[in-house]
């Protein structure tokens, strides 16, 4: 039986009827047409489906949509504002941190939440924050540099 939930996604209010077996990832990609959040392993191992729930990174593939009731969700689609791309997105482009791009949404969301909590992280802290986000192009060095260079600008 479907359940009605109210939530905010990328600063817009939504009211949706969800099936209990839908994950937040299913809801975002298949129901709401927000495919920026990627489906990778679908088991919490790869981190590419990372979104922020009330500011905290979680694996959307392991989070039931019904639990998102009254929560604030931020996905990669919500990083860009009227002023253009998020500074972190610009930094990813400038530093060559995007290769195939599949891990990028998760990397961005995790790093956004890190910088929110800790605006001046060490390289070690950046590496530890993204430790649950796998990049199979193994482009970690550029990703770390991209996050560090945004921090330096602040």
């Amino acid at each position: 039986m479907k359940k009605t939930i109210h939530l905010s996604i990328n600063r817009s209010a939504y009211t949706v009827d969800v099936e209990p077996h839908w994950t937040l990832l299913d809801l975002l990609r298949d129901e709401l047409g927000l495919p920026g959040t990627k489906r990778g392993c679908d088991k919490g191992d790869c981190g590419t489906c990372t979104v922020l729930v009330d500011g905290k990174p979680v694996n959307a593939c392991l989070y039931l949509a019904v639990r998102a009731n009254r929560k604030k969700i931020l996905t990669v689609e919500g990083l860009e504002t009227g002023e253009g791309l998020h500074p972190l997105q610009k930094s990813f482009l400038k530093n060559g941190a995007v290769q195939c791009g599949f891990c990028t949404p998760g990397m961005l969301m995790t790093s956004v939440s890190l910088l929110e909590k800790n605006p001046d992280p060490t390289e070690e802290e950046v590496r530890s924050a993204i430790s649950g986000n796998l990049c199979r192009c193994t482009g970690y060095q550029h990703i770390v540099e991209a996050v560090m260079s945004v921090k330096e600008k602040k």
Binding site: W22, G44, D45, N59, L62, L64, R67, S131, G132
Partner: protein
């Protein structure tokens, strides 16, 4: 992979949850963080008709640190444990174990109770909890029991929790003055890593004589369940800390464990590493306690 269909229940009190569980019986699975249950359901290893979420029950998501006896609700998330100032001060080895579990995003979902009830011999939190002497409080409709956490486990994935029982919280006592505990974990990488071996050591030192009054040595991923190395504890108790004693304790711990060969490591390697890391962890713990007393 899509989840199979199920009926979803979201009780908001423990009493309501117990009632539901009694009515639904074996057909129901309890959901906390979902990092294990939902994966097993996606893999079709578990196909419960009903899922009862415990995450809307406020009392299960809280710490109670006001008295001498402390409690940690089973639905507290692993990041709550890792980041709580109270836990970092009172039970630092538990906070350290929590910081080693999974990845940051998994820690924001996974819970301390979930990490125990999945009964993985390699779970991160049970060794630290057992080192601090934690007890598990279980509740079913109209009944409650409390048992030492190590008695909860029967084998890989198997516990002594009844089908109508809920693990409500962990009960801990303020560690005595002069006691120290340390967690250790050996993995192939630092995140999203199931331990090759892990464990925790607890020592209560008499602050005048320096003698070890009580010791708990807990080993993970080297037996069907997390185990206490009882004869190692006996070797330590009543003695003064020394390199020789800790070397002997490490050897005893290696003799006491019964590891298997698997893709993460061989039994021989595990046994050797238990010896090295038990010795090293005891040494580190005592050094920490010395620094602490030097400061006081």
């Amino acid at each position: 992979m899509a989840l199979p269909r199920f009926q979803y229940h979201e009780p908001t009190s423990l009493a309501e949850a117990c009632q539901m569980l009694r009515a639904l019986g074996k057909e129901a699975a309890l959901l906390a963080g979902g990092t294990d249950l939902l994966v097993k359901m996606k893999n079709r290893e578990l196909l419960p008709k009903s899922v009862v979420s415990l995450m809307e029950i406020d009392e299960m998501r809280q710490f109670n640190f006001s008295g001498k006896g402390k409690s940690i609700g089973a639905c507290c998330t692993v990041s709550q444990i890792a980041e709580s100032a109270q836990i970092r001060t009172t039970f630092p080895a538990l906070a350290s174990a929590a910081g080693h579990l999974g990845s940051p995003a998994v820690r924001n979902l996974g819970t301390i109770g979930g990490n125990a009830v999945t009964a993985s011999p390699a779970a991160d939190l049970p060794p630290a909890l057992i080192a601090y002497g934690a007890k598990a409080r279980l509740k079913r409709e109209g009944q409650e029991r409390v048992l030492p956490l190590e008695q909860l486990f029967r084998g890989p994935g198997a516990t002594n929790i009844g089908v109508d029982e809920i693990l409500v919280d962990f009960q801990l006592e303020q560690p005595p003055e002069g006691s120290v505990a340390e967690y250790f974990k050996l993995g192939h990488r630092r995140a999203l890593q199931c331990s090759i071996i892990n464990g925790a050591c607890f020592l209560a030192l008499n602050h005048r004589s320096g003698v070890i009054e009580a010791a708990r040595v807990v080993l993970g991923a080297v037996a069907p369940t997390v185990v206490r190395a009882v004869s190692t504890e006996r070797i330590l108790t009543g003695e003064r800390p020394s390199s020789k004693l800790f070397l002997e304790a490490g050897k005893a711990a290696a003799r006491e464990c019964t590891p298997i060969d698997d893709l993460r490591g061989s039994a021989d390697y595990r046994r050797d590493m238990i010896q090295v890391l038990t010795t090293r962890t005891l040494q580190n713990a005592v050094e920490k306690s010395r620094n602490h007393f030097a400061r006081v």
